[in-house]
């Protein structure tokens, strides 16, 4: 057990300064304004600038386009990016997909692509969910039909977040509808500029943008197939397990909760509400800071936040989302009418973090599978409860993950 402050080497100290100076330079107000406007979860200028320095995948070796950073330096960089709220959704989806691409794509292609990914020129999004399919990924219906050395795609995917900023989507398709649900699927890395692929934006009430992607007789080369035909479920599992399970590699450095990033939004909202409380006077002349009912609620939110940060893996995923959903609503209540003013109409006041938090919170209960999907995972793989034999039963995790889950207990 060790929670001590990291003692940096001179090199690491120097690196931290370098990171700060660099990010001061590239993460401009304009980056944030554009993000507020578009909800892209992506800034091309920042992404490419980070890629240029090898800081998109900073622990990759330099020859692969990384920066060969040690774990501590990587953590320094990661925290600074979070602190500055650098839009990072597309960086995240790209990283998730790369492990599968690296393993399953033709090795010559991989070698070509690796540097482009590291530099930020090639980016990936996730083509899992279908408009009528919900979180049941294995119910995928997008059809891929072989035609010589090509595949013809038809159907549509929803929540392909970042498609407008990416070159490829990691697509799960149905290649043999006659086989059992999990056996007739094949994965592809689909170029988004292929004819017949159409991206249509959808906005969430958090302001985030996601997409429906339509495939209408879209043709792609067989070289973009990942893994064997009808073996797509196994290919998908690497990235899906990573998304569903423990984030850090038990480095003793990284945050242990998969919900940590949600909780940063709650941190900002809480800090803003606390600042407001310290100064606010009610119409009757009393100070909010003297109202123990207000202080109790602040204490509750702060405690749920702290407990969420300490909850590991998928358990922290649920704890983080629930703490944010409940806590952000409580903070809006606490602040009252002033908390309602929209982020965009707020002219610099910190309180926008409360209003934004309450909108943003709701998506966290859905990202990467709803909290119910995660409760199923916990029920089965942490508690060992029996699984219901539904007609179209879903496999959440590859068998090997059970042990890791149980160990997280």
């Amino acid at each position: 057990m060790d929670f001590s402050v990291l003692q940096l080497t001179a090199e690491q100290e120097q690196f931290a300064k370098e990171v700060q100076a660099f990010l001061d330079d590239i993460v401009t107000d304009e980056v944030h304004e554009r993000e507020l406007e578009t909800g892209d979860g992506f800034s091309a200028t920042v992404h490419l600038a980070l890629g240029e320095r090898g800081w998109l995948y900073p622990t990759w070796p330099v020859e692969h386009g990384g920066a060969g950073l040690d774990a501590v330096s990587a953590r320094i960089l990661d925290l600074e990016l979070h602190r500055r709220q650098v839009p990072d959704i597309t960086a995240g989806t790209t990283a998730l997909v790369w492990s599968a691409v690296e393993r399953y794509l033709d090795s010559a292609e991989v070698d070509t692509m690796r540097l482009d990914v590291a530099r930020g020129h090639v980016r990936f999004c996730l083509g899992y969910t279908e408009p009528d399919g919900g979180s049941d990924i294995a119910a995928a219906k997008v059809r891929a039909v072989r035609d010589g050395d090509e595949w013809v795609l038809n159907g549509s995917k929803i929540f392909t977040t970042g498609a407008q900023s990416c070159q490829y989507t990691f697509l799960i398709t149905r290649t043999d509808p006659t086989l059992p649900k999990h056996k007739g699927m094949t994965m592809f890395l689909v170029p988004l500029d292929a004819p017949g692929v159409e991206i249509q934006g959808i906005r969430a009430f958090s302001g985030e943008r996601t997409n429906i992607v339509y495939y209408s007789d879209a043709r792609i080369s067989d070289k973009f197939r990942l893994g064997a035909v009808n073996a797509g479920w196994a290919v998908l599992h690497g990235p899906l397990d990573a998304e569903h399970s423990i984030g850090g590699e038990e480095s003793g450095l990284d945050d242990i909760s998969v919900g940590r990033s949600f909780l940063r939004v709650l941190e900002r909202a809480l800090d803003a509400a606390v600042d407001w409380t310290a100064a606010a006077v009610r119409p009757d002349g009393t100070k909010v800071a003297d109202d123990r009912s207000a202080l109790q609620r602040i204490g509750r939110v702060a405690t749920d936040l702290e407990a969420g940060i300490r909850t590991p893996g998928p358990l922290g995923r649920v704890a983080g989302s629930e703490a944010l959903v409940r806590g952000s609503a409580d903070l809006v209540d606490l602040v009252g009418i002033e908390a309602l003013v929209s982020l965009g109409d707020r002219a610099g006041s910190e309180l926008g973090a409360v209003e934004y938090g309450h909108r943003f919170a709701q998506g966290t209960a859905t990202y990467g599978g709803t909290v119910e999907v995660f409760r199923n995972i916990i029920s089965q793989h942490v508690l060992g409860l029996p699984q219901m034999n539904y007609p179209g039963r879903k496999v959440f995790l590859a068998p090997g993950r059970s042990d890791a889950m149980a160990a997280a207990r």
């Binding site: 002033e338 309602l340 109409d345 119910e372 039963r393």
Partner: protein
């Protein structure tokens, strides 16, 4: 309070009440579908719709017949407010009706009352007493020229040439940053204890009607989620057959049903025996705020990623539930007041 008092427990609506409910249910369903609600965003005001609603007599229905009204009670008004909420309708019905009742209650000049009752433009009510003369966020002030506010010991109707500047907000309501110093006219409606008690009564009316609107909003959110859960499938079964979906929705149904009855009871008591259980208003309001927050959150969530998109009607309900329930400030302070009342009574 006497917990063994022998009271009737009759929650049935009489035929007049059923008629009121049905008339407004039909009106809002026809005139205020979600397309109309969306078209009125972000201001949250559809002037044509408001004009039609005024034409239904909604602004005067609760005035005494002698003042041109229909003697409708708070009970009928909460029925109307629930129908408004059920359609998330972009009209300033609640603050306007409460303001008109307030003007009548303080015996405002007939010309002032009649002008207000005409409803065009609507009259707004500042829900917090003014502190000094600094600008304040006032619901519906962005569409009203007249704002009633408690200012020191006086209840005042402030007149301005223009509505206050609109402040975009979470619930898409016509919130204005209203500046009492910018008013061009100032009519004192009451002063001293009479001013305070009239204001508090109006605030109570506002809380009851808002509670009813919040419950209407939550009911439609629930209905929408139930429809989704009946048809959407996962793992080969409708998601609504999974207890992880059905039970949270059942809890919303439980909350909405109890909240509605509590509002009805509070409205009835407020109308007929206002001194008997004054804390019922605070209870009905704080309870509705919580039920609405949780109920619309659950209902949106049970529609998965779709429920999180602005295209889904679930988003309308979710944002307004919170956006309406803190217009009068922190609803938890009502709980403090309830607790204080009980402790004082026991002490």
């Amino acid at each position: 309070m006497d917990r063994w008092e022998l009271r009737r427990q009759d929650y049935s609506l009489d035929s007049d009440q059923e008629d009121v409910r049905e008339a407004f249910s039909e009106f809002f369903a026809k005139e205020s579908p979600s397309s109309v609600v969306r078209a009125a965003e972000p201001l949250g005001y559809d002037a044509a719709l408001w004009e039609k609603l005024v034409g239904m007599g909604v602004t005067t229905m609760s005035l005494p017949a002698a003042l041109g009204g229909d003697d409708a009670t708070l009970v009928e008004l909460v029925l109307v407010a629930e129908e408004l909420g059920r359609n998330a309708s972009p009209v300033p019905l609640i603050s306007h009706v409460v303001s008109v009742r307030l003007l009548a209650a303080v015996g405002a000049d007939r010309a002032v009352l009649d002008a207000a009752a005409a409803g065009l433009p609507p009259v707004a009510l500042a829900l917090a007493p003014l502190t000094g003369t600094s600008p304040a966020l006032v619901p519906d002030a962005a569409i009203a020229n007249d704002v009633i506010a408690l200012s020191g010991e006086e209840l005042v109707l402030f007149r301005s040439a223009e509505p206050a500047p609109f402040i975009a907000n979470h619930g898409s309501t016509p919130l204005g940053r209203w500046d009492p110093a910018a008013a061009s006219g100032r009519i004192v409606l009451a002063s001293g204890p009479a001013a305070v008690s009239a204001f508090e009564r109006a605030l109570g009316d506002w809380k009851l009607l808002t509670a009813a609107a919040l419950i209407g909003l939550t009911q439609i959110a629930l209905d929408t989620a139930v429809e989704f859960a009946k048809t959407r499938e996962t793992m080969g079964v409708p998601i609504g057959s999974l207890q992880g979906v059905a039970f949270p929705l059942a809890d919303v149904a439980i909350g909405v049903t109890g909240a509605r009855n509590l509002i009805w009871r509070a409205a009835w008591m407020s109308e007929y025996e206002p001194q008997a259980r004054p804390e019922l208003i605070a209870m009905a309001y704080a309870n509705a705020a919580r039920v609405a927050t949780r109920g619309t959150t659950t209902s949106a969530h049970m529609q998965g990623g779709l429920g999180f998109t602005i295209e889904a009607d679930a988003s309308l309900y979710f944002l307004r539930a919170k956006g309406w329930s803190v217009l009068a400030g922190d609803p938890n302070l009502d709980l403090v007041g309830i607790g204080a009342g009980l402790v004082v009574a026991a002490g």
